[in-house]
C-alpha cells in the first residue's frame, strides 16, 4: 500500500494502564512484514500510573524518521479515551486526520474528587468531529467488559482500526503479531476482542 503521505503518522493515545504501548507494538508488528519501515516514539515513565500516554507511529515505504510526530501532522488517531483523543487532536491534528475513539471516559483524579467536571462525552465527540475529516467511535471498554476484562479494550480497538481500511491490518497479520508478544493462553480471547471490535465500530 502506498500512502498519500510518507511517512504516514499514527498516534495511539490513552491513559496509563490501558495497554497503549502494547497496542502500538502490535500495530508495528502487523505492518513490519508488509515491508514498511516503522519508527515508534513512546511517551511513558511516571505517566504509566494513570497519566496520559501516547505512542507515535511513523510508517514509511522508504525511510526511518525521528520518533516524535511534529505538531499538526497526525494522519490517523486511535484514542483509547475520549478526552485524551481531543487533547491529542489539539496538538497533533489537522483538517485531514481520521479519528477512531473509544467513547468510555476514564476520570482523572481532580474529576474523581469533584474539583473539575469531566466534559460531556457527546460534546467531546462533537469537538473531535469538528477537528477531524472523519470520526469512528464506539464503546470498546463495554465490549471488553462483556468479555470479562477491560484489559481487552486495546485489542478491540485494533479490530475496529482494521475496518477503517487505511492501514493493511488483517486478522492473520494480527494473529501473527500477538504471537510471542502476549501470553499464549490469551490468544483466543485477543482474537475474539479483535473480531468484536471489527463488528462494533461505526462511523459517525
Amino acid at each position: 500500500m502506498v500512502f498519500q503521505k510518507d511517512p504516514f503518522n499514527v498516534i495511539i493515545g490513552g491513559v496509563g494502564g490501558q495497554g497503549n504501548v502494547i497496542a502500538s507494538q502490535v500495530l508495528g508488528r502487523i505492518l513490519l512484514p508488509k515491508g514498511y519501515v516503522i519508527t515508534i516514539g513512546e511517551t511513558y515513565g511516571a505517566s504509566q500510573r494513570g497519566g496520559a500516554v501516547m505512542s507515535h507511529l511513523r510508517i514509511s515505504a522508504k525511510d526511518q524518521f525521528s520518533p516524535l510526530i511534529p505538531e499538526g501532522q497526525c494522519d490517523l488517531l486511535m484514542a483509547l479515551e475520549p478526552v485524551e483523543g481531543l487533547r491529542i487532536l489539539g496538538q497533533y491534528g489537522n483538517p485531514s486526520v481520521v479519528s477512531l475513539i473509544n467513547t468510555r471516559p476514564i476520570h482523572p483524579i481532580e474529576i474523581i474528587s469533584g474539583q473539575t467536571p469531566y466534559p460531556d462525552v457527546s460534546e467531546v465527540l462533537r469537538r473531535i468531529g469538528e477537528l477531524s475529516k472523519g470520526v469512528w467511535a464506539f464503546n470498546a471498554t463495554e465490549i471488553a467488559l462483556e468479555m470479562g476484562d477491560p484489559i481487552f479494550s486495546n485489542m478491540v480497538m485494533l479490530g475496529a482500526l482494521s475496518m477503517l481500511d487505511m492501514l493493511q491490518i488483517d486478522r492473520q497479520g494480527f494473529e501473527q503479531a500477538i504471537g510471542g508478544l502476549l501470553s499464549s493462553g490469551r490468544l483466543a480471547q485477543n482474537l475474539e476482542a479483535f473480531d468484536r471490535g471489527k463488528m462494533a465500530v461505526e462511523k459517525i
Binding site: 500510573r49 524518521f65 525521528s66 481531543l86 487533547r87 487532536l89 476520570h107 483524579i109 474528587s113 469533584g114
Partner: protein, 619 residues
C-alpha cells in the same frame, strides 16, 4: 540466519552490546535505561550466549563490577540513567585516569523534559568533566552502531567511553535486521601493576598526562568519524546560516529541513562531541556567517565553539535552556532564527485554530496516581492518620506519588528519605523542639542507598520513624527483582537478603513487619514506634510495610477479593478522595455521592476502613 524485528531503542543498544562481544553487562534500573539489561537477557537466552549479567545494587556498584571485568581484559558495559551516573561519578573520574584493558562502555541515558527524573542534566557534560569520549546517538540504529565503535575506541586507547542515548532513542522503536550472535572467547587475566591499578597521587599526575594525550588523538579521530560527525557543505560555497546539531535534535533538524526542502541551510552533524573535533567545527564555521547550535540538554558543543559573534544557541537565547527539544520547539526556534536573520521562514501549517480551540476547552489535567489496590496508598493513609503533624521525608519510586495523599514532603535523591530525616531531626533537636518525622523509602531504593544513611542515623542517635515500603519489586522502572527476593537478572536463584537482616545490621533495635492492608495494625505499630523514638533509651524505629505490588503480583497481592460499594450514607465529605485518592472511587454526579468504578477497582478492600461515615461497605 538474519531476521527483521522491531526493537526498542534500549533493545538496539542491547543488540549492539552483544554484537560487539560484550561479556559482562551490569545495571541498576532507572528510566529511561531500564530495558537495556532485560533486552540483553532476552537476546543471550535466544542466542545461547554465556554473557554475565547482573542487576547491581546501585550504579556505582554496577560501574565498578563492569570496570573490573574490563581491567581483566574482557569487554564490559554498565547501564544506568543519567542521575545514576552521579552515584557512579567517583568511579568514573578515577577510571578515566587509570583506564582499562578490554573495552569498557558506560551507557548513561538522559531524560530531557524531564519525564521521569530529578534533573535534565546532560551526560555529555559529565564526559567532559571526567575527560572521557562520549557518543550521542540520533536513533536506535545509530546507538547500536555506536556501541561497536565505543568498544573499539575504548580498547585501542584504554579509556572508558560513554554512550549517551536520550529518552527519544531509548524509548523509540525501530525495525532492525539482526542475527548470528556469537560468544566472545576473551579470557580473564590480571597482571599486577600497582602504579596503574592502585595509583598514588604521584602516578596520577603521570596518568593525567597520558589521558590528555589520548583525548587529543581521539579528538583527531572524531574529525572524520563519518557517519556520526560530518557536514554537507558544498566546497567553496558560503552560507548566511548553518545548523550544528547532535543526538536526537539532529534527526529532528534533518526531518524538518528535508520536509521544507531547505538546501540553502547546511548542517554539521556532531554525534561524537567530546573530545571536540576542533578542525571539523572550524571548517563549518568558516563557511557560515552564523551557526545555530541545537543540542540536548546543555551547552557542550556551543561551549567549545567559543565565538559569541557567530554562534547562536543557548547563550544568545536562541535555544531554550530547559525542556526537551521536541519537533515543534526545534521548528519554532529555527523559524525565529531565520526571521531574525531576515531569511525565508519555514512554511506555516495554518493549524493554530485547532490549538486555540482545544486550549479554550480547558480539558482536565491527568496527573499520575498510585494504582488501585496499591499497598503504598494504605501505608500513607495509616502514616498520616497516626502522625498528622510529622514532616514526611520520602524518596524515589512509585511511592513519590504519595505526594497526592499528603504523605510526601521532601524528595531529593535516592536514599535521602533517610538522610533528610536525620538532618531534620538534629536541626529541630538543637532548638529543643520535638518535631515528629516519618521517613518513607521503597525496598529497592533502600538496598540502593539506604544503608549508609540509616547506619549514620543510628550512630548519631537520630530519632524518627522509618517506614520501608516493601512491595517486593522495583515497581516504578518495570518490576526488576531486588536482593530481598533473591532472584537474579537472568531469572536464576541468588542469595535472598531480607530487609530485616540489613536493618538489624545497621544497628536498629526496633524492627517490626506489618501488612499495610491492615490499617489498624499499622496504626498501632506506628504509635508503638513513636513511644520508642521518644524513649531516652530508644532510637530510630523501622517499620517494614510489606505487601506485594498489585501489578507485579496480580494474583498473590489480593488473595481475598472484596467487592465494595458506597451506600447512601455518603455525605460527600471528600475525605476518601483527599486522603485515599483511589482512582476507583469517584464522584457520581447523577447519584450525588461517591461511587465505585468496578472496572478500575482492584477489590483490595482497604477502603472499607477509611470512611468516617462507614458508607463504604462490602457488597
Amino acid at each position: 540466519m538474519t531476521q527483521k524485528e522491531i526493537f526498542l531503542g534500549n533493545g538496539a543498544i542491547a543488540l549492539g552490546l552483544l554484537e560487539a562481544g560484550c561479556q559482562v553487562v551490569t545495571s541498576y534500573p532507572g528510566t529511561p535505561s531500564s530495558e537495556i539489561l532485560p533486552e540483553v537477557v532476552r537476546l543471550i537466552k535466544s542466542a545461547g550466549l554465556n554473557t554475565y549479567v547482573e542487576w547491581s545494587t546501585n550504579e556505582k556498584v554496577a560501574f565498578d563490577n563492569a570496570f573490573a571485568a574490563a581491567v581483566s581484559g574482557k569487554r564490559a558495559a554498565c547501564c544506568m540513567k543519567q542521575v545514576g551516573l552521579n552515584v557512579a561519578a567517583d568511579s568514573l573520574m578515577s577510571a578515566a585516569y587509570i583506564g582499562n584493558m578490554g573495552g569498557f562502555v558506560i551507557i548513561s541515558c538522559d531524560d530531557p523534559g524531564p519525564h521521569s527524573s530529578q534533573t535534565e542534566q546532560d551526560t555529555r557534560l559529565m564526559a567532559r568533566f571526567a575527560k572521557v569520549p562520549v557518543l550521542d546517538p540520533s536513533s536506535p540504529e545509530e546507538a547500536r552502531q555506536m556501541v561497536a565503535v565505543a568498544f573499539d575506541l575504548s580498547e585501542e586507547f584504554q579509556v572508558p567511553v560513554i554512550l549517551r542515548p536520550a529518552i527519544r532513542v531509548c524509548h523509540a522503536r525501530e525495525s532492525l535486521t539482526w542475527g548470528g550472535l556469537k560468544n566472545n572467547e576473551q579470557k580473564a587475566s590480571f597482571e599486577r601493576n600497582p602504579g596503574r591499578w592502585a595509583a598514588t597521587p604521584r602516578f596520577r599526575f603521570i596518568l593525567h598526562g597520558e589521558l590528555n594525550g589520548k583525548l587529543k588523538e581521539i579528538g583527531r579521530r572524531f574529525e572524520k568519524l563519518d557517519p556520526f560527525n560530518f557536514h554537507d557543505l558544498k566546497p567553496g560555497e558560503k552560507y548566511p546560516l548553518g545548523i550544528l546539531a547532535g543526538g536526537v535534535p539532529y534527526s529532528v533538524v534533518r526531518d524538518i529541513l528535508s520536509d521544507e526542502d531547505r538546501k540553502d541551510i547546511p548542517v554539521l552533524k556532531m554525534c561524537a562531541p567530546h573530545p571536540f573535533p576542533e578542525g571539523l567545527a572550524k571548517e563549518f564555521m568558516s563557511a557560515c556567517e552564523k551557526v545555530l547550535v541545537i543540542e540536548e540538554t546543555d551547552t557542550v558543543i556551543e561551549y567549545f565553539l567559543r565565538d559569541s559573534e557567530k554562534v547562536l544557541g543557548r547563550f544568545s537565547d536562541h535555544v531554550p535552556s530547559e525542556g526537551e527539544l521536541v519537533p515543534e520547539v526545534v521548528y519554532g526556534l529555527i523559524n525565529k532564527t531565520l526571521e531574525g536573520l531576515q531569511m525565508k521562514g519555514l512554511s506555516s501549517d495554518g493549524r493554530q485554530s485547532a490549538v486555540e480551540l482545544v486550549k479554550g476547552l480547558e480539558l482536565p489535567i491527568r496527573k499520575p496516581t498510585l494504582c488501585p489496590g496499591c499497598p503504598h496508598r494504605a501505608s500513607f493513609f495509616a502514616i498520616r492518620k497516626a502522625r498528622p503533624k510529622a514532616i514526611f521525608t520520602s524518596d524515589i519510586g512509585c511511592y513519590t506519588l504519595g505526594i497526592n495523599l499528603g504523605g510526601v514532603d521532601t524528595c531529593l535523591d535516592m536514599g535521602a528519605g533517610i538522610t533528610m530525616a536525620s538532618g531534620f531531626y538534629h536541626s529541630f533537636a538543637q532548638d529543643q523542639v520535638d518535631q515528629p518525622i516519618v521517613a518513607t523509602i521503597g525496598d529497592s531504593t533502600f538496598y540502593h542507598s539506604g544503608t549508609a544513611g540509616l547506619l549514620n542515623a543510628v550512630y548519631n542517635d537520630s530519632r524518627f520513624i522509618l517506614v520501608i515500603l516493601d512491595n517486593q519489586t522495583t515497581a516504578m522502572t518495570g518490576m526488576q527483582p531486588t536482593p530481598g527476593l533473591g532472584i537474579r537478572a537472568d531469572g536464576t536463584k541468588g542469595k535472598m537478603i531480607p530487609l530485616e537482616r540489613v536493618v538489624a545490621g545497621c544497628g536498629v533495635d526496633f524492627i517490626e513487619v506489618v501488612d499495610p492492608y491492615d490499617l489498624e495494625a499499622m496504626n498501632k505499630l506506628i504509635k508503638k514506634a513513636v513511644e520508642y523514638t521518644n524513649d531516652p533509651a530508644g532510637g530510630v524505629a523501622v517499620i517494614i510495610a510489606r505487601h506485594p505490588c498489585v501489578i507485579a503480583y496480580r494474583e498473590e497481592a489480593i488473595p481475598q477479593k472484596k467487592k465494595v460499594v458506597v451506600t447512601e450514607d455518603c455525605v460527600e465529605c471528600n475525605f476518601c478522595h483527599d486522603r485515599f485518592e483511589c482512582p476507583a472511587l469517584y464522584k457520581d454526579t447523577d447519584l450525588g455521592r461517591t461511587a465505585v468504578d468496578q472496572t478500575l477497582c482492584a477489590q483490595c478492600g482497604v477502603c472499607l476502613d477509611i470512611c468516617p461515615k462507614g458508607a463504604i461497605i462490602e457488597a
